[in-house]
Amino acid sequence: MKIKKTLCLVLAMAMMLMLAACGDSDGKEKASDLKIGCIMLGDETEGYTAAHINGIKAAAEELGLSDNLVWKYKVDESSSCYDAAVDLVGQGCNIIFSNSYGHQTYMVQAAQEYPDVTFVAMTGDFAAICGLSNFKNAFTYVYESRYVSGVAAGMKLQELLADGTLSTETQPGSFDADGNVKIGYVGAYPYAEVVSGYTAFFLGLRSIVPNVVMEVEYTNSWFDIDKEGAAAESLIADGCVIIGQHADSTGAPAATQKLLDNGTICYSVGYNIDMRETAPSAALTSATNNWKVYYKHAMECMLNGTELEADWAAGYAQNAVAITELSNSCAAGTADKIAEVEAALKNGTLHVFDTNTFTVGGEKVTTASCDMSFMDWSIGEAIYKGETIEAIKDGYFSESTFRSAPYFQLRIDGITENAN
């Protein structure tokens, strides 16, 4: 009995001591070289994160920094992101990247506490207005690559219609009452990022085949292989011939391949990674980001001691976006058409959201004001107040120029969203 009591006392004392002992040395050491911390939502098995990992590795290799990377994989959008960031600071990192949108509120918390370290929340949306000079955001003009992937899908659709494979006789469900061809899109959430993406995809497709309508099915998840597959199946059952996607799994291409094998006419346009492995004959191409461009730029800025932009975005002009290699299922002449569109995007003669190419409520759009504030939606107040800008200029909606994160939220004619 006595031993028991003594033991309890000792344990209690030990707990107290732990509390006090926590005040010792911090492992913050001065790195002689640039040290780069990387906080990743997933790991190399998941397309979205894999694209970031490859981008960081390629950039580091070109700059001879391959040994200066410190990785944190599978970090949730939770306080574990803050822990990871602080831990990377402790390991001497000078710049820390996080790759998911939901990491940003935890990254900014760390940025407030460690002003000497640069924190980059990729795809985030308030770096320019939060008043911290060491907190940055970056994104790409991914809508440009979605537009181009839409063009590739349009070429395929045009071929199917021209050679009679797809007609009101062969697949009557694929035409609406007005004779428009139905296409579909599997979206993650009804946010600007997704709206901007599917609209670009639709406009790209419609630039080739004018009489199309699109249905958007939301999964309410960024990565859910089953839901994405089910959404694609229901769209195809509804007659959609092309299935685009803004969700991270291979669910939609896999479902499309299965139905194509069963004799339905349907093709898939993927995201992030080449989908030919999943859907050998159904996949046409995928819209991707080339993250290396930004990561290299950011690392160079750190090496040279130049200030990194608070908010960075680029597209085809800087090779920051692309589409994956065209599959054998693509229509003849697609490559030439793609090259032509890409060149026009690069030299600025083509604008994805040209107001001559779409209408809202039957009317041409002449004005679109966007509030750049970062909102706390739970109480409906702005956490960081931003300007309200006019996004329409020179006859097009200027996406990702006022802020890297997308803000195109118009619901244009010809697209219907299925609320779930």
């Binding site: 309890c8 926590c22 010792d24 492992g27 940003q104 739970s378 109480i379």
Partner: protein, 366 residues
Amino acid sequence: MSNSQIKEPLMRVVKRDGARMREKVAARAAAILLALVLDALFIFFVTGQNPISVYGVMFQETFGTKSRCSWAMRDLVSLLCIGIALAPAFKMKFWNVGAEGQVLMGGLVTALIMVYFGNRLPMPVLFLVMLLTSVAIGAVWGLIPAFFKAKWKTNETLFTLMMNYVATSFVACAVNIMRGQASSLGKLNMGNRAGWFPSVFGQRYNINIIVVIILTFVMYFYLKYTKHGYEISVVGESENTARYAGINVAKVIMRTMAISGAISGLCGFLIVCGRDQTISTTTAGGNGFTAIIVAWLAKFNTFYMALIAFLLVFLQKGAAEIASAYGLNDYAASIITGIILFCILGSEFFINYKVIFRTGKGGKTA
């Protein structure tokens, strides 16, 4: 049919009455040592690294810096707090597997009040309201299955388990409403930081740590030296005995579960205000289940619980870090943790039973 004709088995297992303290400590120490050796073999064969240096990395990764040390303490007290909450219920042999849900509900009301009253109430009042409501909702969440158990003998294991799913759905629903047009909820009250615990004594998580240390003492005292604690152990040993002794069994069950749930709710409050400043379905993070192991292994002694929680947190954190450091995946970390838990649970067997080997002369040792 003489005795000598019955073949004596090579070994048999005999229940042991009250092993001595020294034996218990020795058995447990041996178990941990054995586990470390098994893990060392596993680490060596998988990574080819020197196991001693890998353990060094584990320790370094868990306690190596001031912040890591404070995170380990923070996670330790989160786990310990739920263990403390479970102790009275399990001592009463009421299988409360619903701590996860009770924590979530406590966290949820804390988060809702933090968001919707953060601007309107002065800070001390806000904390008081969050504290009281989280404790109350936790108590209610624990009381519901207890009430059905006391009145109609429903199965509390299934009932409390179901309540977890209900709580998870409530949280998912609230999160979806609160995040509005953003794709994730992020930190609550980022602008004014209303309802965030301040740092005390220079440490961000000290409020959590202090509250749980106090709870550790209070619960130890409550179970060991109060009339309530005595009633709990009598009901746990035998309901009929309790009834015979004039104990109102239904009342004890409901009271104890209300306390158990209330402490879980309090834990939700501590996690949301002190650690996460947000709410999600993973706020409890499976600790509601891990804490069952903590409570059981410690035989409801809250100080042992602290020791076991410490071991588990060290293993979880350290194993996750070495997995990432040596390019293994999460499963390797789970194997390392699993081996240690297996050995510790195995040692309980040798504390409660002894193995007797055949000696040649039957029955001599029995």
